[in-house]
Symmetry: C2
Subunit: 512 residues, 2 copies
């Protein structure tokens, strides 16, 4: 048994292997290796365009036990993962591992393939919907491996996650495999999460519904990395790919939280020229951006960059001169796609450049302020965004752990209670992000600073913000909600939570 | 002894190793490997900016026998190679191999380092000026290795050319190592030749005279690949980096050649929508572009791309709608730099994407028409652009062999005689590009089609172009110049000419 942040994890997990325990956010650094890559050279006059998915699969010689990968830029509008797996299942292939950067409700047909043994392994940074439920119920033969966005790029580049065939959904592809995400009916913008797959998979197939003459322009992923191009009718449903606009919350409690978070940021002293900022696309997160914007405008501050998944709101801040640049790993809305397409200061970043801890420096390393969400937080500031209060998988780290580790100020914004349950607990169901990389928790009732951040605490004491210890905050919630019942789990491990460096930070057990 | 295109090459060359003989343009294809890369991960708060070159060298721990690399985007204005080697020499380091994508007259101080044993190896795609003369005189301890632009990227990516430290001249660098070539006083545009060095060297140093706050925009080479950033006073002399404008020749003979070359192109049937084209920056080459432009305009043809080193003339053709895009590995003039900076259809390509034969398809694979120069051509169409008529090194392949191999129609344009010497000979001093990839030779007195291209010959027979066999063309020149004397060489090998796939196509011997 390994003891990880007071969890007991077996030394060896069946279907996963030996456990390398989490030992601190930056314990695994220094000399690293990007792995060698096998490829087959392509000669002049050789064609890459394949008639259909079936013919592509003939050429690819996909065998039982292989790993096939997918990116999630088409989000809940993605047709590619389902179509490819359906075609593979029809061929009788079994025991596949699906390495998909994220899984959404649209991927429900994957449950059937899991039940039938077509798919027995799943590696992903975020799993929601029916597949998450199926994994939680123990339907997948091997434990799912839940990574972070930066950790997935690290795993692929290091060779820890070997991909036999990458299927790259391509909103635009030319006949020689140059790809972009900015044109076509399934336009999604940045293809940041697809880069490592394209560069390191043994074989790569661009799957597109917008085949253009050579050469495409712009090029996000180069012909040098693509073996085949397949045109299909539709790679995705635009309605599920991007929202029209992302909106700031109107919920009064969320607005209070946002205002307080902005005051914490101001008091931290980080609001200065050259500052950098990241937040998610959720209503409360965007509300923090709106509050921060006011402060930046008042103080005449110009930031260096905002990063991550990009929303129209951050585009506006760029256009208003509040940031010099954006680093975009995925576009959340149409405005972001248009800006990414047209504005050269709205820059591309791959998942590796974004958050891989084993490069010569990821963008998260330069992040000042990060706004994070949480499903649960424990009194050591460990955060769960992997499982719900019922113990069932409903998400995963995505960039949570990557940005928390890199940012100078990682702020969790959350209601103190959700659905009559307290958010702060002695023990969270699953540790996604270690408390050592969380600096402060902001709720509508009080603000708790991680005791490791004595400097921040001193600064906040000069404000009128309602500071409490995390235990006080927990007790405050419990006076209103009572102490929630512990969720009973069996011993069976249904998912392994990998920290960004590939160590195990926790496991998810089957709910009883 | 190996017999290569009727040359005799030893099986083993001292200071180089075993000889893998050239066996045809596409004989070495199929399963290939991009090599693994060692790196040291960079943590948040770690600084990359180093005070000066000396401190950088302290950190890099450069030892005797190592390989240091440089790119040639600053051309004959480059200060970086000289400064770095001067600093290394002052530290007493010896036996270095310099892997510089090209060497120009400005690199004359390298001769001293060669004479002193500081530098004993040289790997380059193009060597001109005093260093070329020194190599030809046998001053370098080991034979120089002369590669092609695509072959260099191949060698680096495959691990054949292992770089210990890459020094990357950076017209603009930010404090975390993001680099571009479009801003700064030494702006040179595309940094295509620097990419493989950045990605595959053990250690990388960006050397800049324009250090900007994080993050730079645009980013051509990412922070993920850069260990250190050093600011120096000046990385180069703008006058040597780019010409103000590149001009079409006014020489009447050259204009005749250009006109005939354009007629060959027209007759080939390749002037059609989607056509692609590449030419060098020389006056005759540009004159071919001008003639081709007229034909394209007359026929209302829109090409897909022009590629290679880009000149203002090709930019004009892009802007006039004659090509949809440009692929730019280096900018030859200011107009090209501005276009590359501002026009998204003027696209970047790395040397690997440009011409590496061991990728999933280089841009040269899609090239229809390529205009090439020649110092000498033999009656088997083998071309020499490596040594002059005196047997002394004065250039090298650059992209010559890469584009000739890829293009559907590779045309050599040349005067039939230069300085009273015939260009076509029974035997060239050095084979740079194999005759099998040359389709036609166009001179002011006659046009010779490679007999392998029966199809092309048939098409040209329907025109009034002055067709001859290559032997007829040779004899025609010799009636005017006489048969030139053969240059006497010793047995000593001063340079090895590597074909793009890493095989040996010829050697350069010391002139007596």
């Amino acid at each position: 048994m390994k003891h990880i942040l007071s969890r007991e994890i077996p030394d060896y997990i069946e279907g996963y292997g030996s456990v390398k325990p989490f030992q601190g956010t930056f314990s695994d650094i220094g000399a690293k290796t990007r792995t060698a890559v096998k490829l087959t050279s392509v000669m002049p006059n050789q064609q890459k365009v394949i008639l259909n998915l079936e013919e592509a699969l003939d050429k690819l010689n996909i065998m039982d036990g292989m790993t096939v990968s997918f990116h999630h830029h088409l989000r809940n509008g993605d047709f590619v993962l389902n179509k490819v797996l359906e075609t593979l299942a029809a061929r009788g292939v079994r025991d596949l591992t699906v390495a998909a950067s994220s899984i959404f409700p649209i991927h429900a047909p994957l449950v059937k393939h899991i039940e039938n043994g077509v798919v027995t392994g799943l590696v992903s940074n975020y799993i929601s919907g029916p597949v998450a439920e199926a994994v939680s119920k123990g339907k997948l033969k091997k434990p799912a491996i839940m990574q972070t966005h930066g950790g997935r790029a690290r795993a692929i580049e290091s060779g820890d996650l070997h991909i036999d065939v990458a299927f790259l959904a391509a909103p635009t592809a030319d006949t020689y495999g140059n790809i972009n995400g900015v044109y076509g009916k399934a336009a999604c913008g940045s293809l940041g999460y697809a880069v490592a797959d394209a560069e390191y998979a043994d074989k790569t197939v661009a799957v597109t519904d917008h085949l253009v003459p050579y050469p495409a322009s712009p090029i996000e992923i180069s012909q040098a990395f693509i073996d085949y191009v397949v045109e299909i009718d539709s790679i995705g449903d635009p309605k599920g790919i991007v929202s029209g606009t992302t909106r700031i919350t109107k919920n009064p409690v969320a607005l209070i939280i946002a205002k307080r978070a902005a005051e914490v940021i101001k008091a931290s002293g980080l609001v200065q020229d050259g500052m950098s900022f990241q937040t998610g696309a959720g209503g409360t997160s965007l509300a923090v951006a709106a509050e921060l914007k006011k402060i930046m405008q008042q103080e005449g501050v110009v930031g260096s960059f905002a990063s991550g998944g990009i929303t129209g709101y951050l585009v506006e801040m760029l256009e208003e001169g509040l940031f010099r640049t954006l680093f975009d790993v995925q576009c959340f809305d149409l405005k972001a796609i248009e800006s990414y397409r047209d504005n050269p200061t709205h820059q591309f970043m791959s998942a590796s450049m974004y958050g891989n801890p084993h490069t010569k420096g990821a963008v998260v390393n330069n992040l000042d302020i990060m706004i994070l969400g949480a499903t649960e937080i424990d009194t050591n500031f460990n955060v769960n965004v992997t499982t719900g209060s019922d113990g069932v998988i409903m998400g995963g780290s995505g960039g949570h752990s990557d940005t928390a580790a890199g940012a100078k100020l990682a702020i969790v914004v959350t209601n103190l209670m959700k659905a009559r349950l307290p958010i702060i607990k002695d023990k969270v169901m699953t540790i996604t992000t270690p408390g050592e990389s969380i600096d402060v928790v902001v709720t509508e009732r009080g603000i708790a600073v991680n005791p490791r951040r004595v400097d921040l605490l001193e600064k906040l004491k000069t404000t009128r913000l309602p500071l409490m210890t995390i235990n006080e905050l927990k007790r405050l919630a419990e006076t209103m909600t009572g102490v929630p019942k512990t969720i009973e789990t069996s011993e069976e491990i249904v998912a392994v939570v990998e920290y960004r460096d590939g160590s195990i930070i926790d496991v998810v057990r089957k709910v009883k």
